[in-house]
């Protein structure tokens, strides 16, 4: 059996190597390395894919969040609500801009922001909510948007892990992750579902005025060259990366299908094992399985056992944000966010990617089953 990896980007590349190599060669020939035509072409194609009016590309998914908050003119002291069970980038950007992160716990089954607690966190200083579509599945957007509307709060969807996931509203309307709030952000970090060959990111919006502002903010506050109207940053998607992404975007749905096939296998093989909870499927959202995350008993022992069997795993995330040293000064006690604290001790993400082999899936499932049944 082939060595099992958390992500097998190399094999994925080899399947489309001629196309990718061509795209790279084209950029090397044109030498339009910054804002070359591929950047705009990719932005257009991605806009069509997620069905949004404006796509602004940028340097990475963290910058995307920063640009979003700058363009919305959030001011130091403003409060921004975010789930406490997430990657550090979301909280860090809030802090970087002098805003105040207000953490909220997540649902134990979907791992996404607990909307039932949302209103209790809203104060007169609250300006925005940042739902994170964790592991590849949309947060409860319909109730979240209703609350946001009622309190006139911006919704910035962190779509770094869920590009392509689709949410169905109760009236039957379907929307892609990142296009439901005022702004959506995403990352093209290599191991993301749509990954480039370096850092990359993008921002979505349907608001034309805001789109202009986002574009300016990502480009030193310029509308026209050398006309700096506002304070901005430098955050661009390299032409080389855009060219690669343009090729890969065509395969994104196929990638999601392959990930879902692997997930379906795991679901079947692992359901019903005492001590193991398979990931919950939300009724309102498709899942693009950026991660396949189990909630298990004896997590650390399982991790060791799998490692010994040559099966890599990851813990997303082992230290809840409120216990990170960077936030220690805000002194959250044990039990502040019980679900997240429990998840940090019980979640384990097992290999899932576009190149999983049946025998690998079988071996991983079997090894887990054996661990809990013997």
């Amino acid at each position: 059996m082939e060595k099992i990896k958390m992500a097998d980007l190399h094999t994925q590349y080899l399947r489309i190597k001629p196309e990718i190599d061509d795209a790279i060669q084209q950029v090397l020939t044109s030498t339009a390395f910054i804002q070359g035509p591929e950047v705009n072409a990719f932005a257009q194609a991605l806009g069509t894919y997620v069905d949004v009016n404006h796509v602004i590309t940028c340097g990475n998914g963290t910058d995307a969040l920063q640009i979003a908050m700058m363009a919305l003119e959030l001011q130091p002291g403003d409060e921004v609500i975010l789930p406490v069970h997430t990657y550090v980038a979301t909280a860090e950007v809030i802090a970087l801009l002098g805003l105040v992160p207000v953490f909220i716990d997540v649902f134990a089954d979907s791992f996404n922001l607990d909307v039932t607690q949302l209103e209790s966190k809203i104060t007169p200083k609250t300006k925005a909510i940042v739902p994170v579509h964790l592991y590849g599945q949309c947060a409860d957007m319909e109730p979240l948007l209703a609350i946001a509307n009622r309190h006139k709060l911006y919704v910035i969807e962190d779509t770094a892990q869920a590009l392509g996931a689709e949410y169905t509203f109760s009236n039957g309307t379907r929307k892609k992750a990142g296009t439901m709030g005022i702004i959506g952000t995403t990352s093209f970090f290599p191991s993301k579902n749509l990954g480039c060959f370096g850092d990359g990111g993008a921002i979505f919006t349907n608001d034309t005025v805001l789109a202009e502002k986002l574009k300016m903010t990502a480009n030193h506050g310029q509308r026209i060259k050398y006309h700096h109207d506002i304070i901005g940053i430098n955050s661009r998607l390299d032409t080389l990366q855009a060219a690669i992404l343009q090729v890969k975007l065509k395969y994104l749905d196929d990638y999601a299908r392959r990930r879902n096939d692997a997930a379906a296998y795991y679901d079947l093989a692992l359901a019903g094992i005492a001590g193991v909870k398979i990931p919950h499927r939300s009724g309102n959202s498709t899942h693009v399985f950026h991660q396949y995350t189990l909630t298990v008993e004896r997590r650390d022992d399982l991790k060791k056992e799998l490692e010994a069997a040559g099966i890599p795993t990851m813990i997303y995330y082992p230290v809840p944000l409120h216990f990170q040293k960077a936030y220690a000064r805000k002194s959250f006690g044990e039990g502040s966010f019980p679900v997240t604290e429990s998840l940090s001790k019980t979640v384990i993400s097992i290999p899932i990617h576009t190149e999983m082999k049946p025998e690998q899936l079988a071996f991983i499932s079997e090894t887990i089953k054996t661990f809990y049944t013997t």
Binding site: E92, D229, I230, T239
Partner: protein, 367 residues
């Protein structure tokens, strides 16, 4: 004849191994913090003779990371030239601090040391010196001022790769030097890239942490930070180009000398001054010209690309209106904005092209 401002195609073709380097890096498939990143950091710091190099996503991020690593915070003031690319002031604002503009020297176009002390208050924390166009700022004097007033000195080296003052490389005199490897810089990547250099272990660690979400190791987020990395692919390109940098700088200097000779004696223009105690990378060869805009159009009609670095003094930009400066408060910067014109000076420029540009300039003022 068509004279391009930059010729990246020709530059790419002049290093045949670059295609292979890129193909090999793609095959390695280690796109984030691959070994080429560390190798570039090692090589670049060896060239400069400095203890640490920390790569970043671009030169603007490098400046921001430098400021944040030095602890520049809301309420602080940082002195920065009134004439530069906006990164050297916008990154100060991003820290929540106040950019305090100082006018530049009318001969070297870098910070005028005589205009600094009048700007220092008890909130002043640092000075950002820009090695504009490739000529070292008055580093030694600035360093003395900084030492006297307990200020940090940050060097913006985006245009000054390997430029020297009194035998010291730009970027190694202040606490931190910030570099850009934007594709058209003297050392340019094939996308955005940058780095900071420093001799301080503490600052290097702070910068490395800050640029990586506040963590040195996975999940060890000691402080809040950001995401600013040099792609492995860009590091590989820079590694392949670095050995050529000195030679390219020399070629730019030869081009500049030729311009100096050919443009000598035209009363309507002022040629760039080269300080005897400093070197110049001629990232840009910038003349000051009467009827600058007409000259620019005239040259364009002859197929000659020129650029204006920069058409406005920074304090005059709408982004800084909130500081409430009067127009004319920075007379040298204001004058430069009206007069400067950058002529093509890239390393692979043909001598005939330089002759052609010079002839057309002469022709413009004789007409």
């Amino acid at each position: 004849m068509e004279v391009l401002f930059n010729d990246l195609k020709k530059l790419h073709q002049s290093i045949p191994e670059l295609n292979e380097v890129i193909q090999r890096t793609v095959s390695d498939f280690n796109f984030i913090r691959g070994k080429q990143v560390t190798q570039f950091e090692e090589s670049f710091k060896a060239v400069l003779g400095v203890n640490h190099c920390v790569t970043t996503g671009n030169g603007t991020d490098a400046l921001f990371i430098a400021l944040r690593s030095l602890g520049i915070n809301p309420g602080d003031e940082v002195i920065t030239p009134a004439f530069s690319w906006i990164s050297s002031s916008e990154t100060i604002s991003l820290c929540g601090a106040k950019p305090v503009f100082a006018d530049v020297d009318s001969q070297t176009y870098t910070l005028d040391p005589d205009r600094i002390e009048e700007k220092i208050t008890d909130r002043t924390k640092a000075i950002v010196a820009v090695h504009l166009y490739g000529q070292a700022a008055h580093l030694e004097i600035l360093k003395k001022i900084c030492d006297k007033h307990h200020l940090f000195l940050i060097e913006d080296c985006a245009q000054g790769h390997l430029t020297l003052e009194y035998g010291k490389y730009a970027g190694t005199v202040g606490e931190i030097g910030a570099f850009s490897f934007y594709p058209t810089k003297n050392l340019g990547a094939y996308g955005d890239a940058g780095c900071i250099v420093t001799n301080s272990d503490t600052l290097a660690e702070k910068a490395r942490r800050f640029a990586n979400h506040g963590a040195l190791l996975k999940d060890d987020h000691l402080v809040e930070g950001m995401n600013s990395r040099m792609d492995t692919l860009q590091a590989a390109v820079l590694l392949a180009k670095l050995p050529h940098l000195k030679r390219w700088n020399e070629m730019r200097n030869l081009n500049a000398q030729l311009y100096d000779q050919l443009l000598d004696g035209i009363a309507e223009i002022i040629l760039p001054l080269q300080r005897p105690d400093a070197s110049h990378t001629f990232h840009l060869y910038v003349i000051r010209a009467q009827q600058r805009d007409e000259l620019k159009r005239w040259l364009a009609n002859y197929g000659i690309q020129t650029l204006v670095h920069y058409p406005q003094a920074l304090p005059d930009l709408p982004a800084y209106h909130y500081l409430g400066h009067d127009k004319g408060a920075f007379p040298v910067a204001g004058m430069l904005a009206k007069e400067v014109l950058s002529l093509p000076v890239h390393p692979l420029l043909h001598l005939d092209a330089i002759q052609y540009v010079a002839d057309r300039i002469r022709g413009f003022y004789k007409k």
